[in-house]
Symmetry: C2
Amino acid sequence: MKIGILGTGSVGRTIGTAFIEKGHEVMLGSRSTTNEKAMSWVEANGVHARHGSFRETVEFAELICICLNGAFAVDVLQQAGPSNFIDKIVVDVTNPLDFSNGMPPSLLSQYSNTWSLGEEIQQQLPGAKVVKALNTVTANLMVNAQLVNNAHHHLFICGNDVAAKNAVRELLAHNFHWKPEYILDFGSIQSARLTEGIVPFWVGAMQVLGTPMFNYLIVK
Amino acid sequence: MKIGILGTGSVGRTIGTAFIEKGHEVMLGSRSTTNEKAMSWVEANGVHARHGSFRETVEFAELICICLNGAFAVDVLQQAGPSNFIDKIVVDVTNPLDFSNGMPPSLLSQYSNTWSLGEEIQQQLPGAKVVKALNTVTANLMVNAQLVNNAHHHLFICGNDVAAKNAVRELLAHNFHWKPEYILDFGSIQSARLTEGIVPFWVGAMQVLGTPMFNYLIVK
């Protein structure tokens, strides 16, 4: 599958590398086509790895992962051209975190409590099938659920398109070892308010536990 | 121990009854001394159960549990007299939920993201030792952790007074079967932003799971 990754930070590069290892073609998109992190990532990841502008990446891709700093995401999507996203699945991994007052972060006020970045992204890309996913775990765990508790822990997804959510569930199961029955569907993209809203707690828990390598297992 | 419960809703009555069963003396505080729920609770719970005004309840108690609707909590604390709380442990079980736009709720905007009800309560009661606890699980689970996964799941507490937090941890362990090592200390009362902030998610999870009888086990 042709997968586009928007963002060259550790999340984007980690997901990009993991998809390459599973046989996909990946383009890493960035603002500048001379982005050093992107160029060295391409060099390290072989013939199925490439790099382009945000727009080229979305044009190339059948499925797009948004791995941007939440504060800049909307601007990047406009640069990439919303019409290029039409009918494509967009996996939104972003979190609208505000670290300006130290740790743990708060949410950016415009994407907190009664609105979310996931909803904003769906609104910016009305033709896309936005699925919020993976934003509640650390990058290395995103791409290998088995790193914690033999993959017995939960992921939370939401989005307006049921078929797109099922496709993302299968993608994560086949590529990243997530157990499908541990991927809980929280309903429409409005639930991004909930799944983004727990991320400041996650950072606090990381500080308490001394590691980002953990997740929640819901027990009944 | 003499325990005061502010609030006669299901959380307050459930906690009150559970403390009575463990041999404590409990006063249930309400706005009106002819509160019907409080009177029938007293009748059902024997000689160690009593009922009073908010002020009488705080004067009576060595330890106070706040089990109020988050929207009215500050008003009630002022009625009860902040000076009556001095040097007492206050277990804050409240959540500042706003159900006015349906389910799942958001947080009341004045207690969201960069401020919390827990912090507000500590500010309103500067002489008290406020410990935020129990607000992330359903009432019946608060008072019997063994109802889920043999008590292997986590509770999150925070507060400015370390000795008070340790006393609450012991209280919950001795009375309500919480395993002390599963009660994670998130630091100062500022972390109420985090532990209140996950409650809208909890409501969404309850809808997905079809039961409120669940909790999070953090796995590494």
